[in-house]
């Protein structure tokens, strides 16, 4: 894993702003870039530890993945951070559709806020942020990890 420099963090912040219309203040975290283009966020206090001494298995929280054309596929936790403030690429589901989405089904959103098709959108239901998924003309393509799905 590589610790991102200030400028790289700013680029990532711009990427999020472009996609979701908000900044999340990534500079308050330690931002790491790992395998499979994954972005990890950790609290800055972790730097107090001498990492070279430890057999490290993982650090911090998986925020999301950088995709082609500067698109960002956020994890559920990444979506929850961005989603509360997002003004773009956000969809809303009712309770029934939210249940289906959490079960891993593709659903058609009731409400789309400044959405761009063939991009990742943040999925909300009431106060809950459920994650992020690609949106097409047919609806949301469910990419929820199996471990986070609610069994039917």
């Amino acid at each position: 894993m590589k610790v991102l420099e200030k400028e790289e963090v700013e680029n990532l912040e711009r990427m999020i702003e472009k996609n979701y219309g908000t900044r999340v203040g990534l500079n308050q975290f330690l931002v790491l870039f790992g395998s499979e283009e994954k972005i990890w966020l950790a609290s800055k206090e972790i730097m107090n530890l001498d990492m070279r001494k430890f057999p490290v298995n993982s650090i911090g929280m998986n925020f999301g993945k950088i995709k082609r054309n500067d698109k960002v596929n956020l994890t559920i936790e990444g979506s929850q951070m961005v989603g509360k403030l997002a003004t773009k690429n956000t969809v809303a589901l009712d309770e029934q559709e939210a249940q289906k989405f959490m079960q891993g089904s593709d659903v058609k959103p009731q409400q789309e806020i400044n959405c761009e098709y063939h991009n990742f959108v943040i999925v909300k239901s009431g106060e809950d942020v459920l994650g992020s998924s690609p949106l097409t003309e047919e609806g949301l393509q469910n990419l929820l990890p199996k471990s986070r799905r609610v069994p039917i």
Binding site: F29, V56, I59, G60, M61, Q80
Partner: protein, 319 residues
């Protein structure tokens, strides 16, 4: 080779007389573990039948009040008196399959196991080691108490357990944890000091009073785990800063895994115990067991197994 030969040189593990003896020995020892020993500890034989669910609010994602309101749609919800974030929920629904669980709003956790992190009293300025962390119930609780600040090193050994730990840290949105993989007994070799350490050791788990676990517990397994726990304690003590705090806990009822190890920490490792105050019914640690006299174990906490709570042993140690 004659079957009565002491060692089968071609395949030393496949020697029937030895294996048979080992099995027989184990059976005899299992029978020797008698529930009567708990009568000596508590004055009665505790029993428990788990009813409903106990869970802890993940305050990194939701407030206690909001979660309480959401859980009430599943059944009756009762707040725990001794843990502000804890709830007992009585419902037929499987809460591990709820949306709230998937979104990381709570952690399903026995009420007793919520207590060691409270005694550890973590602050955002602390540097913490959770030596046997998986599956992460206590690590996520510590992270929530620290408001996702201040470094926590969460260690465990097997990939399967680390996978569960990482999954739970992610689900709870924990950002201040470094997960490491090494034998806890060897952690002292890293030569990094922590001001607070949680040592929730592998144990027989007899505090759950689960009939299957009680059947599987033998004097041999208790002795084996007791030795392992001592090695872990020794390693943890070396990782502890001067005046640092070490919380030792098990979900076992066995004095060999509890008071005997605290006695070892006091006499051999130079640690001292400290009294803790809890808002629940518990008994102090035993001062003697069979022929052994223990030092400073009166400061330890023995949580008596009930329907709501597993039997637990917790002791606060200082360097």
């Amino acid at each position: 080779m004659h079957p009565s030969s002491p060692v089968n040189e071609k395949n030393p593990t496949f020697n029937f007389p030895i294996l048979f003896n080992k099995c027989l020995n184990k059976i005899i020892l299992i029978v020797a573990i008698d529930l009567e020993r708990y009568k000596k500890i508590y004055g009665f034989i505790p029993s428990r039948q788990q009813e409903g669910w106990s869970l802890r609010t993940n305050t990194l994602k939701i407030s206690v009040e909001n979660l309480e309101a959401r859980l009430s749609k599943y059944g009756s919800v009762k707040r725990m008196q001794f843990v502000n974030e804890g709830f007992f929920v009585n419902t037929d629904k499987n809460l591990s399959k709820s949306i709230e669980h998937s979104l990381g709003y709570f952690f399903l956790q026995n009420a007793s196991s919520m207590i060691p992190p409270l005694i550890l009293d973590p602050k955002p300025t602390d540097t913490i080691l959770d030596m046997c962390a998986a599956p992460g119930s206590k690590t996520t609780e510590i992270a929530a108490l620290m408001q996702n600040q201040g470094p926590i090193v969460a260690n465990d050994i097997t990939y399967k357990r680390l996978k569960a730990l990482r999954g739970n840290l992610q689900r709870c949105g924990v950002m201040n944890v470094v997960v490491t993989k090494m034998f806890g007994e060897n952690f002292w070799k890293i030569k990094e000091k922590f001001n607070k350490i949680l040592l929730d050791t592998p144990c027989t788990g007899t505090g759950s009073m689960n009939p299957r676990i009680l059947q599987q517990t033998s004097e041999q397994s208790i002795r084996y785990l007791s030795r392992l726990q001592k090695r872990l304690l020794e390693s943890a003590a070396q990782c502890l800063e001067e005046d640092g705090t070490l919380i030792y806990s098990t979900c076992s009822l066995e004095p060999e895994e509890n008071e005997e190890n605290i006695d070892f920490a006091v006499r051999q490792l130079g640690l001292r115990t400290e009294r803790v105050q809890l808002k629940l019914n518990y008994m102090p640690g035993l001062s003697k067991w069979n022929d052994k006299q223990f030092e400073q174990t009166f400061n330890a906490v023995r949580i008596i197994p009930t329907n709501e709570m597993e039997g637990f042993f917790i002791c606060k140690l200082k360097k």
